[in-house]
């Protein structure tokens, strides 16, 4: 293999493709001379790498105690109800995938979540409604 950092290679491909498909992994394997079994092992070890097609927006709700103390449960319940899916699922229109994640380091602005890697903080039901509306609008424009 060459001396490029594997995590960075996987990120770059995922940034372009939205997830790491079998075809992607095969191409990386040939290009960088890394066994595909190892690529699969590394990809599935990390929660941020996805090997299945995702929604346009990946929402990662913070599951830290700091968020829990600041009504994160209410946000979680509302999101599930509003999107009609459970944590870990993708909406039928392939717009949103929702996950719960370990602490994202926004405890001083809890509750918080990442949408495609960008932090959204001080969440409330009202704010979630606005964020979802905005994201839908951006997706269709």
């Amino acid at each position: 293999m060459d001396d490029k950092i594997l995590l960075n290679i996987l990120h770059e491909v995922q940034d372009k493709n939205g997830y790491l498909s079998e075809k992607n992994l095969k191409e990386i394997s040939v290009k960088h001379q890394i066994p595909i079994s190892r690529l699969y092992g590394v990809a599935t070890f990390h929660t941020m790498f996805k090997i299945k097609k995702q929604g346009k927006y990946i929402i990662e709700l913070c599951g830290s105690p700091s968020c829990l103390l600041n009504n994160a449960r209410e946000i979680e319940n509302f999101l599930e109800k509003e999107l009609g899916i459970e944590i870990g699922d993708t909406t039928k229109d392939k717009m949103f995938s929702v996950y719960k994640t370990s602490c994202i380091g926004c405890c001083d602005e809890a509750p918080a979540m990442l949408v495609n890697g960008c932090p959204y903080t001080k969440l409330s039901v009202k704010r979630i409604k606005e964020i979802l509306k905005e994201l839908r609008k951006n997706a269709n424009s």
Binding site: I5, H46, M48, G63, S102, G105, C107
Partner: protein
């Protein structure tokens, strides 16, 4: 704040002027210790790597803070990354490192582009012939552990390895490797340059049921009353949790936050993250939330942690749902202790601490949940 003082490459210039031996002596004399939780003296760590004969050495800046309730490294990355990069360059100079890495946690990827710019800028100004590459983490807490982070950089699953050999002897690609975190490296040029640099200042990440959460800088031994005056509790406080692995203890207004006072409650200060918990919350719920974290983040390599964290979570769920009796509490305690005693790395060795201290300090919350 001491941590925000800029050094504008003066620390590096001083280091290059006085030479590596004197740099190590100053860092030792000034008492700069690692800020990751273990408090290992930085000069000692650097010497260990220097004493290992090698044609190449590596430096890793650990920016993979993932301990729930911790966000102080993010604060530095946002507000004083130049000084941190200068700290890395001083380390590169002393340790004769040509290739260094910043392992940036995936959750902070939005800070990456600006950090890349800063790296280019600072290296350019320094005139040094070194490279600092950002490794993009991807959401694995265990990669903050020193052997796992190296596995991850080398392109393997980020699982913890047996020690020895220690990284300073055989680290990345078998070469001596020094790992320091963001806060530690930021302190390097500041400690070298400023006579009034205080070794006892620590960054505290404060969150939970308070009106003014955030990053604060206090001296070790700070009074709890001082902390509470600054952070303003939202309601009467019942407990404080030191991140996830430090344990949970009652809030004592007269207490001072030092290693000794915390140890009496069987807690550890860790990275000085304090999550304040108000009176309306049941500690079982907090323990359950932390247990989910450990189950999710266990790397799966050793059996006690891989299997044990799941069992702990299941028992806690059963307790919360009112399906347990006294015997289950004993089982929970025994299991938590057993996992701590037999796990391979720091994650497993600390995963039961929040439960053991929760059971010890807040038994009434547990008994309230028991089968009537």
């Amino acid at each position: 704040m001491q941590i925000l003082r800029e050094t504008n490459l003066e620390g590096l210039k001083l280091a290059q002027k006085i030479g590596k031996e004197k740099v190590l002596k100053i860092l030792e004399k000034k008492g700069l210790v690692g800020r990751g939780g273990a408090g290992f003296p930085i000069a000692k760590k650097w010497k260990l790597a220097l004493d290992t004969k090698a044609n190449e050495r590596y430096l890793i800046c650990n920016a993979d803070e993932g301990e729930p309730g911790t966000f102080k490294d993010k604060f530095i990355l946002k507000n004083n990354s130049e000084t941190m990069i200068e700290g890395m360059l001083i380390a590169c100079y002393v340790l004769e490192v040509k290739k260094a890495f910043i392992y940036l946690r995936g959750e902070y990827d939005y800070l990456r582009e600006e950090l890349e710019e800063k790296i280019k800028e600072v290296i350019g100004k320094s005139g040094m012939n070194v490279s600092i590459d950002i490794v993009r983490g991807a959401g694995a807490y265990i990669c903050g552990e020193e052997t796992a982070i190296m596995q991850s950089i080398m392109g393997y699953r980020g699982q913890a390895m047996y020690k020895p050999p220690y990284p300073t002897v055989s680290g990345l690609w078998g070469k001596p490797t020094v790992l320091n975190n963001v806060e530690t490296l930021t302190n390097v040029p500041q400690a070298l340059l400023y006579d009034d640099w205080n070794p006892n200042y620590r960054l505290f990440s404060i969150s939970g049921d308070v009106n003014h959460p955030g990053v604060y800088e206090w001296e070790l031994g700070v009074k709890m009353s001082t902390i509470l005056d600054s952070v303003k509790p939202k309601e009467k406080l019942k407990a404080m949790s030191f991140g996830c692995f430090g344990g949970i203890m009652p809030v004592d207004i007269k207490a001072k936050i030092s290693q000794d006072s915390i140890c009496k409650e069987n807690c550890q200060h860790g990275a000085y993250s304090i999550i304040f918990i108000g009176e309306k919350h049941n500690i079982v719920d907090i323990n359950l939330s932390i247990a989910k974290f450990y189950t999710f983040e266990s790397c799966g390599k050793c059996t006690p942690c891989r299997e044990g964290t799941v069992r702990l979570l299941n028992i806690l769920k059963k307790i919360r749902d009112g399906g347990c009796n006294d015997e289950d509490l004993e089982m929970l305690k025994e299991l938590a202790q057993h996992i701590q005693d037999t796990s391979l790395c720091g994650l497993g060795q600390s995963c039961g601490n929040h439960i053991l201290t929760g059971l010890k300090n807040f038994k009434e919350d547990y008994t309230r949940c028991l089968k009537k």
